[in-house]
Amino acid sequence: MGDIQKRVLTGTHFMLGNHAVVEGALAAGCNFFAGYPITPANEISQHMGLRMPSVGGTFLQAEDELCSIFALSGAALAGAKAMTATASAGFNYMQEGLGYAVAAEIPIVVVDVMRCRGENYATQSDVMQLRWGASGDHEMIVLAPASVQELFDFTIRAFNLAEKYRTPVIVMSETTIALMREKLVIPKPDEIEIFNRKKPDVPPDQFMPFRAEMNEVPPLPDFGEGYRILHSLNPHDEMGWIAWNPQVFDTLYQRITGKITANYDDIVRVDEYFLDDAEIALVVYGSESRPAREAMQSARREGIKAGLLKLNTIWPVPEKQLAKVARQADRVLAVEMNIGKYAGEIERVCCGGCPVSRITKNSGQIHSSSEIYQAIRESLN
């Protein structure tokens, strides 16, 4: 692994997906990790237990996932860049802490390595619980890597988005990529873009801790810097005081959801392949994009004008990009490794432009490229 005391392991590696998450986090400045054992996320905790102390950060093996997620909030308010990693069944427990981090506007990063009902088979079945699991109206930023390189890159991006928008950001990993070894290129530290949270530029007696323009993000001082802020889940006014009236409620939560929706263009990322002339467009996210790209290439070789839209941000939904695809293509094919969940979102956005069909698989296995190729052929009939 080279020099474990270095924060950024610049160079070319052949690395496990779960380890790439750790290296991405450290490269992003993560200095607090908490986690509870669960397969297939264990290599993240184990590698953090080795790496985090060596770069001067804190490693906590929590007594449960609730401890993990709330320790993150505490550490983040004390100034840390904090992350946890878990897998589907453990992610359930974190919904409470995610809801809190949304409402109290706390930047944290959560990695969910999705798995199937107590087994470690491949799945994308958490795609809805990641978005909708937390109580209270909220937006959620969820990134969907598809390779070891993207696990590294997207983990850095998750920290940057969390810091920029003062909100939890989820990296949706999968058994397929988490437990796979692949080439990873880690750039030099000065080539990695890092965003740190905005701090107040006024002294404590002039600071309104939750004042920001609509859709903007208020600055966040660290605990102990003299600002003495009250952070609460309850509706709070611009001073942070718990206040129950419809106006405070509306203004606060419109701003908290608005800061995500209004910055859609900054948050949403997709990759487009051969969409310009595509008659059939595959829409995929995560590891399913790998066989889907192969299937697209097979179809092209057969003279079928296939293209592919890979969603790197799955929440918020890349509506503009989806709508564009629906206008251009004759048909959209939603590919997904579950009973068909996100396909509903794709249908919602695309149905005005062109027909949408689905190819879903819920058997603990990723689609093969030939299965997707077959689906392309069938959808043309």
């Binding site: 200095n31 607090f32 908490a34 237990g49 080795l50 985090m52 102390p53 060596s54 804190t58 490693f59 906590l60 093996q61 929590a62 007594e63 449960d64 609730l66 401890c67 993990s68 997620i69 709330f70 320790a71 993150l72 909030s73 505490g74 550490a75 983040a76 308010l77 004390a78 100034g79 840390a80 904090a82 409470e96 802490g97 809190y100 409402a103 109290a104 660290d222 605990f223 102990g224 810097e225 003299g226 600002y227 003495r228 802020i229 009250l230 952070h231 609460s232 889940l233 309850n234 005081w241 718990i242």
Partner: protein
């Protein structure tokens, strides 16, 4: 107009507080601020944590860094804060529901780790804010909102739990013993390691009415007084009898290394005599 000596520690515009008339939680706010004042605690470096419930509102009134609003997760917050910045003073205000019911797992682990924070538990023997339901601390046979025929459960002795789990300072007093309570809070604040101070207190509105047939705070305090005993008296009583009593005093004051993380580089690993090295 002359302001109260503790006024400067209160968040601007936060009064009047929301506690019921005669509530013990408001007394505990007073106890804490008095103790903090006497040891000149730096409020710029103080993080007050409350979960959910009446007790959780105590730190909300303090002009400090404050976290509030999730039931039972006070200690995970505290763990994250203290591990990241050990220079901060972290004080948790938990009700018996927060500490012993929904947050019980966190309590035993924070004590086991000897996390360097102070936890003040306002034990009003019930879930006050939600209407007086039975709590893990409710004495046997008393009526509550969910046990109209009398509580059938065995209550927790929270101090015993804390001692057994490894807390290094543990004390119990009541709102009927303000001076002793303030002294133990002071000791807890000055203690290095997990300090746990339980203060049995009255909830006239929801425990008093249902369990004691009175909503008079003084009568509730009289009842607490009648049922309070010393550690020495308790030593001669059976566990069954003790379930109805509040044993008051300081149970433990010890020293051992505080928690700085689960995996720490170069920690001096001196072991207890008799420790067998793994193969």
């Amino acid at each position: 107009m002359k302001k109260h000596r503790l006024w400067k520690y209160l968040r601007d515009g936060s009064l009047p507080h929301f506690f019921c008339s005669g509530c013990g939680a408001a007394q505990i706010l007073n106890f804490f601020l008095t103790a903090a004042d006497q040891i000149s605690l730096d409020f710029d470096k103080l993080v007050g944590i409350g979960g959910v419930g009446c007790t959780a509102r105590i730190p909300v009134y303090m002009k400090a860094e404050v976290l509030h609003g999730v039931h039972g997760r006070t200690l995970p917050w505290a763990t994250g804060i203290k591990l990241h910045n050990p220079d901060l003073k972290v004080v948790i205000f938990a009700g018996d529901g927060d500490a012993a019911a929904i947050g019980g797992n966190h309590l035993i682990h924070a004590a086991r780790r000897n996390l360097d924070v102070t936890m003040i538990v306002a034990n009003n023997l019930t879930f006050g804010m939600t209407g007086g339901q039975m709590a893990p601390t409710t004495p046997p046979t008393v009526k509550t909102a969910t046990t109209p025929y009398g509580n059938q459960e065995t209550p927790f002795d929270l101090c015993k739990l804390a001692v057994t789990s490894g807390a290094t300072f543990v004390a119990r007093w009541t709102t009927q013993k303000p001076k002793r309570a303030i002294e133990s809070i002071k000791k807890g604040l000055l203690h290095k390691g997990f300090s746990f101070v339980e203060i049995v207190c009255q909830c006239p509105t929801n425990f008093g009415r249902k369990a004691l047939s009175t909503d008079d705070a003084i009568e509730c305090l009289e009842w607490i007084k009648e049922n309070s005993i010393t550690i020495r008296q308790a030593a001669e009583m059976s566990p069954e009898t003790l379930a109805y009593r509040f044993v008051l005093g300081e149970f433990v004051e010890a020293s051992r290394p505080v928690f700085t993380g689960s995996s720490v580089l170069n920690r001096s690993g001196s072991r207890e005599p008799g420790f067998v090295e793994p193969p």
